[in-house]
């Protein structure tokens, strides 16, 4: 029997080779595709696992804190903490902490923004002038947003004199020349304050160089030897209360300390006469985008003392006055400029807090409200409210409004005035017990470094070339504008007890001291990745927290940054309109991706299996079909049906085994080339897979063979032909031929139909998958990861489908060889014969492709995939199928020319 099988294989080498090639392609495809899918799935799962956990698993906020926008988009806003001042009680926090499964519950109690006293002395060496009186004028220009916003600041004067008494002139006596809001000079003109700084020059003596002292009335400055401009720095610092123990468990905050000591668990504020004295950790980093340019201008004011004499009699009130007119009338010459960046400004703040920083007011800033138009968020401008800064109750607010707040407002500002006025004007003081560097906080996967980090600075990037150019390729950062689009993270951290000192009604007004906590960040125990157990643990904990506390709960595990497009209008002071991308947080991305990958993987494997099986079955049936007469003869000669079965399947299995051996080499080579990194034993599965595929696919054909009838031997040709009409054209003849061989036509088209349907479904699912997961950082990354195996899958599916059709065309040529040659003998050209055969194949292929594409659409839409990608990919798959059919038909048709003419006289 084996000899018979081998003899048959040898005799039909081409046939055997085609079949073997088909099994080879099918087996290798199946093995490589499953490996590719497994590899990709493992890679994706690895990516997802490593990216699964952001800073924490659950975000707890006060009930109602989720905005409609967040709910609608399934997102958490980037600076979700801003605008939340309290709302969660200590009791609720402890309930969260005690929730089963919760390992960390780290609260943040936003108190508000303070402006502690900070002075920056800017040396003005240009003012170190010769004898006599010299008047210098300064123009301060503030900038923000990568220099696009510019607005004028103070315009102080420095008066340098040799006469100490001159500085005692009331008009020249120094007072805090802080800029008034909104226009510095105009308000200053009408104020009691003088924007003058008076320096007395001390000539060199006793070996000492020329020295300048600032206002001899302040004797401690007598040792200053340089002229400097004392600049009051208004740098907003957000104060927040934390639980040091939970914060350490969550973020190892103590490891970020660069100086001082960490906060103690029970550390609290001290109630002083003026107000609370609060221990704080100070951030060493500021992420503010701000700059200050100081233009130093000399004037042509007389140096002989006449100016001071005139100013000695100048009134202090009323504007404009002759004195101011006089001063402003001098010609100026810029003799130098100094530029200060935000780092220098912040350093002044840090230095100021090295002692004890004082802050007379606390400011709360509300969240930005967005409109949503065509998917683009538009922040709503809030009208300026000067009373938020000055006037009203308490201590009347700040003496002068911080200049940087002149720009466009997107947030409502609320002032909290001190209540404790033992000294006449209460304030809070901050004791810097330690400094922390936020950049030293343990990092997380950059893919899941969602903007949920409490200490991460807010940032937005340009979304179009114009915006990127305006920002000089840099991200948009918070500015010194308290009501700007972006806010800074907390700079000052105290304990919850310390924060209570600020929010207590005994000290500052307007706080909800009963519910001081703004958010709670929760980690759940036993969460290892996007596996079912971990997911359930997080979900259970989240549900319990919500049930027990009624607070708003967001599961952040498995989130990914999702860029949101924000259209910012032009600002008041020069920043052009900007289109920005800001990373908000899309929840559940990992689960979405896992689900999509799993579904896609499963469908891919199923479809590959189906296509492979159909191809092989088609090939097997073709083989059996071509040997029907032989099998009939054997039945006539007394063979048992099961012997026929054995003969038929023996050939298929034998070819399968041979294909498997060759496939081993091919699989190893392709695996290395495609970088699949599969273990050798997995690749070796090509051999048993090849045999299994051939056996499985051969069962039906072998059963068919065994059920043949002895009468099959009597068939003159292997098909019964019945032409019902006389075709007029070649196409008509092709159509008639197809109709006369319906069974074979259907079989051939079935393979291609299945392939194209699989292709359309696959491509639709892939497109939809990419649509689902795109739009988040994690999703975009995974999307790129899975494209590799997608391309392989689609390519191989097409190859198999085309091979099936080509196989059928080849068989058709072989079976109809006599007929085709007879046509040639009767005058047909080779080209016409080839056209006939290829037209048959093309009609079959086109019909199968169109039906396959329609099936792909039906299944894709039935699976709930979006219509556009499904329709587009089905159309592409259909066109691809027709193209493949053309190639698969044309190539074998060319071989018609090689049919020997003698066949016309030979037996069928």
């Amino acid at each position: 029997m084996l000899a018979y099988v081998l003899a048959q294989a040898r005799r039909s080498l081409v046939r055997t080779a085609v079949l073997g090639l088909g099994i080879l392609v099918a087996a290798v495809s199946f093995s490589l595709l499953t490996a590719s899918v497994r590899t990709t799935r493992a890679q994706v799962r690895g990516t997802l696992s490593s990216s699964y956990r952001p800073a924490y698993d659950i975000l707890v906020r006060p009930a109602g804190a989720q905005s409609a926008l967040e709910r609608g988009r399934g997102l958490v806003q980037a600076d979700f903490e801003s605008g939340i001042y309290g709302g969660i009680t200590n009791t609720q926090w402890r309930q969260v902490l005690k929730t089963p499964g919760v390992s960390v519950a780290a609260p943040i109690a936003n108190v508000g923004v303070v402006y502690p006293d900070a002075e920056l002395d800017v040396p003005v060496p240009q003012a170190a002038s010769g004898p006599g009186e010299h008047l210098f004028r300064f123009h301060l220009t503030w900038s923000a947003t990568q220099g696009t916003a510019r607005f004028a600041g103070e315009e102080p004067f420095i008066f340098v004199t040799d006469n100490p008494d001159t500085c005692s002139t009331p008009f020249l006596q120094h007072a805090d020349p802080e800029p008034a809001y909104p226009n510095t000079l105009a308000q200053a003109q009408g104020s009691d304050e003088s924007p003058f700084y008076c320096f007395v020059r001390h000539p060199p003596a006793n070996g000492k160089p020329t020295c300048y002292s600032f206002d001899p009335a302040y004797s401690d400055s007598a040792n200053q030897c340089t002229v400097y401009l004392p600049l009051i720095v208004h740098f907003p610092l957000l104060v927040a209360g934390i639980d040091p123990v939970q914060e350490n468990r969550l973020l190892h905050l103590s490891k970020s300390l660069v100086d001082g000591v960490y906060l103690g668990e029970t550390q609290t504020y001290t109630q002083a006469d003026w107000g609370p004295d609060v221990p704080v950790l100070l951030s060493t980093r500021s992420y503010v985008d701000a700059g200050l340019t100081i233009a130093v201008q000399s004037t042509n004011a007389p140096t002989n003392g006449t100016l001071s004499q005139r100013l000695a009699h100048a009134p202090l009130r009323g504007a404009p006055t002759a004195a101011w007119t006089l001063l402003r009338g001098y010609r100026t010459t810029t003799v130098g400029t100094d530029a200060l960046n935000s780092r220098a400004l912040y350093t002044a703040v840090i230095d100021g807090l090295a002692g004890r920083g004082e802050a007379p007011n606390i400011f709360s800033i509300a969240s930005v409200h967005y409109g949503d138009r065509a998917g683009v968020l538009r922040p709503q401008i809030v009208p300026d409210d000067p009373s938020a800064w000055t006037g009203g109750g308490g201590n009347g607010g700040m003496v002068d409004v911080p200049i940087n707040n002149v720009d466009t407002h997107f947030r409502v500002i609320t002032r909290h005035d001190p209540v404790n006025s033992v000294a006449g004007a209460g304030y809070a003081t901050f004791e810097d017990v330690g400094d922390f560097d936020p950049t030293k906080l343990p990092g997380f996967s950059p893919l899941s470094a969602v903007p949920l980090g409490a200490y991460d600075p807010a940032a937005a990037t340009g979304a179009d070339p114009a915006s990127r150019a305006a920002l000089h390729g840099q991200p948009l950062r918070p500015t010194l504008n308290l009501a700007g689009l972006l806010t800074s993270p907390p700079y000052l951290l105290t304990t919850l007890a310390g924060a209570h000192g600020l929010t207590s009604e005994l000290n500052f007004s307007g706080f909800d001291d009963a519910a001081p906590i703004s958010v709670i960040r929760v980690r759940v125990a036993g969460v290892t990745g996007p596996d079912k157990t971990s997911i359930n643990r997080v979900k259970t904990a989240a549900n319990l927290i919500h049930q027990r506390t009624g607070l708003a709960v967001d599961i952040t595990a498995g989130s990914s940054p999702a860029p949101q497009t924000i259209a910012v209008p032009a600002s008041r002071y020069g920043t052009p309109p900007l289109l920005l991308h800001e990373n908000w947080v899309k929840k559940g991305v990992v689960l979405l991706i896992v689900g999509a990958v799993d579904r896609k993987s499963l469908l891919l494997l199923v479809l590959i299996l189906v296509v492979t099986a159909v191809f092989l079955t088609n090939a097997g049936i073709s083989v059996v079909h071509s040997r029907r007469r032989e099998f009939g003869t054997l039945l006539c000669l007394g063979w048992r049906p099961r012997s026929i079965f054995g003969l038929a399947i023996g050939e298929l299995v034998g070819v399968g085994a041979l294909a498997g051996v060759v496939g081993l080499a091919v699989a190893f080579a392709l695996s290395a080339t495609l970088g699949l990194h599969q273990p050798a034993w997995q690749l070796a599965l090509v051999l048993p897979v090849s045999v299994a595929l051939a056996t499985t696919a051969g069962l039906a054909p072998a059963l068919l063979a065994a059920q043949g009838e002895p009468l099959d031997v009597m068939e003159q040709t292997t098909t019964s032909r019945q032409r019902s009409r006389t075709p007029r054209r070649l196409t008509g003849l092709a159509w008639a031929n197809l109709q006369a061989t319906k069974a074979r036509t259907v079989l051939a088209s079935l393979a291609l139909y299945t392939g194209i349907a699989a292709l359309a479904i696959l491509a639709g699912i892939s497109a939809s998958f990419h649509g689902d997961v795109n739009g988040t950082v994690l999703g975009d990354y995974v999307s790129v990861q899975v494209r590799h195996s997608d391309y392989i899958s689609l390519g191989l599916a097409l190859l198999l489908a085309g091979a099936a059709l080509g196989d059928t065309v080849v068989l058709s040529i072989r079976e109809r060889a006599t007929e085709l040659v007879t046509l040639r003998v009767n005058g047909w050209t080779n080209r016409s014969l080839a056209q006939l055969v290829s037209t048959e194949g093309l009609i079959t292929g086109a019909a199968a492709s169109i039906l396959g594409g329609l099936t792909g659409v039906t299944v894709g839409l039935g699976l709930g995939e979006p219509a556009n990608p499904v329709l587009a990919t089905a159309a592409l798959a259909t066109l691809g199928g027709i193209l493949v059919a053309a190639i698969a038909s044309i190539l074998p048709a060319i071989t018609v020319a090689r049919l020997p003419i003698g066949l016309a006289a030979a037996e069928a």
Binding site: M1, C636, G638, W639, E709, M714, E907
Partner: protein
């Protein structure tokens, strides 16, 4: 037919129809009855389409009659199924008009083919070689069918039909594709070479074949016209 002895092959009122491509019935055999004795050599003659081949197919159990009975050596062939049917076919040697050699097998391979599933022993191959020798192809044992002439192929087919030592030989136009001289040699084989006692039924429209048979049955339009 010998008196007293039951016929070896008893075809009784057998009818068989086929359907053509358009679905119309084609009555190949109509209520045909014929008895064939053991050892008889009977020629079924008649024009094309008279049902000669169909009778052979019915007797050879390749097809079943629509009605009637076919009793061979007491067994109703028409009712046989499964193993019985296979076993019966092994007792019949069929010679086809177009030889129906298996292209993948050599001459000796084709002769051995009927026995292959049951007995692949050397004895079988030896017998096959002897049969081929007896038909004059002793020196072409390993030739493939494509290298054999029509007459040689038919010789192989005859040798193949004899490998199972059949009781009945059914030959469907065994010389139909052969020239006169070759046909004669084939007929010599059929009638002279080792077929003593073998019942032979030959469908033919060649008078020379009919002349060499002991009896002639004429068929026309599926019916037996004359038997002599």
């Amino acid at each position: 037919m010998s008196d007293g002895e039951p016929p070896l092959v008893d075809v009784r009122q057998v009818s068989k129809s086929f359907r053509d491509g358009s679905g119309e019935p084609l009555h190949a055999v109509r209520s045909l009855s014929i008895q064939i004795s053991a050892g008889e050599a009977i020629a079924l003659v008649g024009p094309s389409g008279s049902g000669k081949s169909t009778v052979l197919h019915l007797v050879g159990a390749m097809i079943r009659p629509d009605s009637g009975r076919i009793v061979v050596d007491g067994a109703d062939v028409a009712a046989m199924t499964g193993r019985d049917l296979v076993s019966y076919r092994r007792t019949v040697g069929f010679v086809f008009q177009r030889f129906q050699l298996i292209p993948a097998l050599t001459a000796i391979g084709n002769v051995v083919a009927p026995v292959l599933p049951y007995d692949g022993s050397r004895a079988v191959r030896k017998r096959a070689a002897e049969l081929l020798e007896s038909v004059g192809l002793g020196d072409r044992l390993h030739a493939s069918p494509s290298r054999l002439s029509g007459g040689e192929q038919q010789r192989v087919a005859i040798a193949r039909a004899l490998i199972n030592k059949p009781r009945i030989i059914l030959a469907d136009e065994p010389t139909g594709n052969l020239d006169a001289e070759t046909a004669g040699s084939i007929l010599d084989l059929l009638f002279d070479a080792g077929l003593v006692g073998v019942t032979t039924v030959i469908a033919t429209h060649n008078p020379a074949v009919a002349d060499r048979c002991t009896r002639t049955a004429e068929l026309r339009d599926g019916a037996l016209i004359e038997s002599s």
